[in-house]
């Protein structure tokens, strides 16, 4: 297997007295879809936010293409080719599709002035790419007037721009219609086909099983399982394994408490 694009090692993150992550490690290889699983509160979203630079880890190491990064924040994460479609979409609802796509990464001319024309045409291109060609939308359309699936489309279009190496999708199909969910799956396959990686986080284990090549299960802030699809024959087995892990983890935690 080739070297990982991204490597997180021993990530610890504490919120007050709550230990959200207790030494999680994660590797992402080029051209793979990594399914990140775990129960509610297991620490999936926190881990993703550490990777995206939104939360600074208390300890642990982040490596990009083998190199340790000491300074890490949201802007640096994006500069290093990691694009995240957050669970809450991270959109500004009073603003246009263009403004949202280029938020934090405006296309500029001299002295920080924005190249509106280029932003517009790039946004237009991206919208076509993801099949966003309805007559009623324009890159100027206000995001707050779009449906949930359409907003997801804007967040995905934003992640697509710049050809990121790793695209993280945090619960991308929550609250989406069947058709929209299919669209997200096709998008994941297209990204994979282009040789880039996807981290796919989902509640629906059947979905994740179908789409991912490899799985990482997180339980109570720790990596509980890392397995390739070849090691797990079907989604039922994956569910059973996760239940066993949860049981095991629970009795262990109870043991600790006692």
């Amino acid at each position: 297997m080739s070297d990982p694009v991204i490597e997180l090692q021993g990530i610890v993150k504490q919120f007050g007295s709550v230990a959200a992550l207790r030494g999680v490690s994660l590797k992402v290889y080029p051209g793979e879809v990594l399914g990140l699983l775990g129960d509610n509160g297991a620490g999936k979203s926190t881990l993703i936010k550490v990777l995206a630079g939104v939360h600074a880890p208390d300890s642990g190491e982040i490596r990009v293409r083998g190199q340790v990064r000491r300074k890490w924040n949201a802007a640096i994460s994006r500069e290093n080719g990691i694009e995240t479609v957050f669970q809450d979409r991270a959109l500004c609802s009073q603003h246009s599709i263009v403004t949202n796509i280029f938020m934090g990464r405006e296309l500029k001319r001299f002295g920080g002035f924005i190249d509106h024309r280029r932003q517009f045409s790039e946004a237009e291109r991206l919208m076509r790419e993801i099949g966003f060609t309805s007559k009623v939308f324009s890159p100027d359309s206000t995001v707050g007037l779009l449906s949930g699936g359409e907003r997801q489309g804007v967040a995905i279009a934003r992640a697509l721009y710049n050809e990121a190496d790793v695209i993280v999708l945090d619960e991308p199909t929550t609250a989406l219609s069947l058709m929209e969910t299919q669209k997200v799956f096709r998008f994941v396959e297209a990204v994979k086909a282009s040789g880039r990686s996807v981290i796919f986080i989902g509640h629906n284990i059947y979905h994740v099983y179908d789409i991912a090549d490899r799985f990482v299960v997180i339980d109570r802030g720790q990596t509980a399982l890392e397995a390739s699809k070849a090691e797990i024959p079907d989604a039922e087995t994956l569910i059973r394994t996760m239940q066993e892990l949860a049981q095991h983890g629970k009795s262990e935690a109870d043991g600790e408490a006692a």
């Binding site: 936010k49 995206a52 630079g53 939104v54 924040n73 949201a74 802007a75 640096i76 994460s77 994006r78 995240t84 957050f86 809450d88 979409r89 991270a90 959109l91 500004c92 609802s93 009073q94 603003h95 403004t99 938020m103 934090g104 990464r105 405006e106 500029k108 002295g111 920080g112 002035f113 924005i114 509106h116 517009f120 237009e124 919208m127 076509r128 060609t133 007559k135 939308f137 324009s138 890159p139 100027d140 206000t142 707050g144 007037l145 934003r158």
Partner: protein, 327 residues
């Protein structure tokens, strides 16, 4: 596949992008129309407007920068004291024999420094900007009062300087400060819409979490709106000396409520994320116009505040239609 441009028709884009300032312009015309209907001779006479144009720029400098603060989701109530402070620095520098241009530059810098300090306190001290700037307004005014010991400082000889000719002389129909105020407003409007600074201010005000997730340094943006507000206050302070030729320790005190009212009358909503600089400048015009207007159509001075409040409330109701909140 439809490959036609996704560009919306021009008139839709115009309304979409400028509805807030356009509705303020309409409000201004309606108010002017009412005043003129009641007293045609007065309100078609240019002299009536001369007085307004003399002092209007001071409010415009305050309002245009305040719009950035409100849009960022913060509030600055300390600008009146910063205005007084920078005006003070200006007259002190003049008295000390500084070159007037240098004195002006120094006064503006003092405003930016003060604004930056206020921003740092609010942002890194994690304070509510409403309460913190309310306190700071008293605090800074207190420093001015202690320093000036209640004594006004005259700057009467400024009239002979080139600075005065450039910034407050008279060219054609208007006092020069009015031209500068218009240039400043257009500059701010361009900054707001087409510069990284303005666009990021809007994103931070709309949804700070989203902005942070997309790599925008939210704290830095918040700091810079206070610094910018300090610059606007300093401009107002310096121009108030050009108009009055004297600095009082109370300089700027009366500007708090009219300037804030102008921001909101101008069409910038209270909830942050969106707003209009040009609307704010037009709002300053409305606010400045009401006082002379109400007296001009024959009411006693006692009625000014009544109509002032009425027009603020009516215009807020009007803006409900042009700019509802989108979530």
């Amino acid at each position: 596949m439809n490959n036609a441009s996704l560009q919306l028709p021009l008139h839709i884009r115009l309304w979409r992008n400028h509805k807030r300032s356009l509705s303020t312009l309409i409000a201004l015309f309606v108010i002017w129309g009412i005043f003129t209907a009641f007293n045609p001779t007065l309100f078609t006479n240019w002299i009536t407007y001369n007085a307004i144009f003399l002092t209007l720029p001071i409010t415009i400098f305050l309002v245009t920068t305040l719009v950035f603060v409100i849009v960022s989701g913060e509030l600055d109530l300390a600008f009146p004291s910063v205005m007084g402070f920078s005006g003070w620095m200006f007259v002190l520098a003049l008295k000390a024999g500084w070159d007037p241009f240098l004195a002006m530059g120094g006064a503006l810098l003092s405003g930016v420094a003060m604004g930056t300090a206020i921003g740092a306190l609010v942002v890194y001290g994690k304070l509510s900007s409403l309460v913190a700037t309310l306190g700071l307004n008293f605090f800074i005014r207190g420093i001015i009062n202690i320093g000036a010991q209640g004594i006004a400082i005259s700057a009467g000889n400024i009239r002979e300087t080139l600075v005065y000719q450039v910034f407050a002389g008279r060219y054609f129909l208007f006092p020069n400060q009015m031209y500068w105020a218009v240039i400043w407003t257009l500059f701010c409007a361009y900054l707001f819409r087409s510069h990284q600074f303005g666009v990021r201010v809007q994103c931070v005000g709309d949804n700070p979490e989203s902005a942070a997730q997309m790599g925008i340094d939210v704290n830095r943006v918040r700091m810079s709106v206070f610094a910018f507000s300090g610059l606007g206050a300093a401009l107002a302070g310096v121009f108030s000396i050009f108009v009055n030729f004297v600095w009082w320790p109370t300089n700027g005190d009366g500007s708090l409520l009219p300037a804030l009212a102008a921001v909101f009358v101008g069409g910038t909503p209270t909830w942050g994320g969106v707003g209009t600089v040009i609307g704010g400048a037009l709002g300053a015009f409305i606010v400045g116009f009401i006082e002379s207007g109400v007296v001009g159509i024959g009411f006693d001075g006692y009625y000014v505040q009544f109509f002032f409040g009425l027009i603020i409330i009516l215009s807020m109701i009007g803006h409900r239609f042009s700019g509802r909140r989108i979530r």
